[in-house]
């Protein structure tokens, strides 16, 4: 029993509710002193893109919220390098500095945190 958990983002924002709910989950459980590692994988990397503007969808931008999570003591943000590369993106396209890791390191993170909340 411990307080460590990975929140895993795998899907693109806006088309489905999961990115927004992952963000809300992080905020909601961080206040209960959980040690959270946020992992961005596959289309989940789009959540961190700069200059998101979903105004025409009548939705609020999701990317800008992630850097603010440090105020809630959420300090570990991990991005899968190949997922960025596959989408023609680099760390310069993202709203914040992140830990860029390969597939085997993602597996190691899952193993060390034991519990994963997939969105």
């Amino acid at each position: 029993m411990d307080n460590k958990v990975v929140v895993l983002l795998r899907k693109a924002p806006y088309g489905r509710v999961y990115t927004a709910e992952a963000f809300r989950t992080i905020m909601g459980i961080a206040v209960f002193e959980m040690e959270i590692c946020v992992v961005f994988l596959d289309d989940g990397v789009f959540a961190l893109l700069k200059d998101q503007d979903p105004e025409k969808l009548d939705m609020k931008p999701l990317g800008d919220g992630f850097p603010m999570l440090k105020d809630f003591n959420v300090n570990r943000f991990v991005v899968h390098d190949q997922s960025l590369l596959d989408r023609g993106l680099s760390v310069n396209d993202l709203v914040m500095g992140v830990e860029l890791v390969g597939s085997s390191q993602i597996a190691e993170i899952f193993d060390s945190y034991k519990k994963v909340l997939p969105f």
């Binding site: 307080n3 209960f32 519990k115 909340l117």
Partner: protein, 117 residues
């Protein structure tokens, strides 16, 4: 083993809650402890007591039977508000609460299993 559960999808559209129900019943039959079931996003619709599928399995009734065994079933309050799932619509053996319950289940469980896409 102590197991926490999260369900992210609603009834009938998706197999997630059916799998969760079967998983919970199988785990209990093997002597494991279910710490709690957290219903999140569309998952909150699974405890609607007015679910009434002619000739098919009744999902909210199955959850009510699990809840009647003393297993905590919690639907996210905010998600319930988004979906108009008022407290008076819910089955007897479930309640609505916040993400604190999810944090409790994460902390208290040896394993945590999510059902969804």
């Amino acid at each position: 083993m102590k197991i926490g559960i999260m369900v992210l999808e609603g009834p009938y559209q998706h197999q997630a809650v059916d799998s969760a129900v079967n998983f919970v019943n199988a785990a209990l039959a093997r002597g494991h402890e279910i710490i709690g079931i957290f219903l999140y996003t569309d998952g909150v619709n699974n405890i609607n007591k007015f679910i009434n599928p002619p000739g098919e399995r009744n999902i909210s009734q199955k959850l009510d039977e699990i809840g009647a065994k003393g297993i905590e079933i919690v639907a996210c309050t905010a998600c319930s508000k988004f979906r108009g799932m008022r407290p008076d619509l819910k089955i007897e053996h479930a309640r609505q609460s916040g993400l604190g319950s999810l944090a409790d289940y994460l902390r208290a469980s040896d394993r945590f299993v999510s059902f969804g896409d």
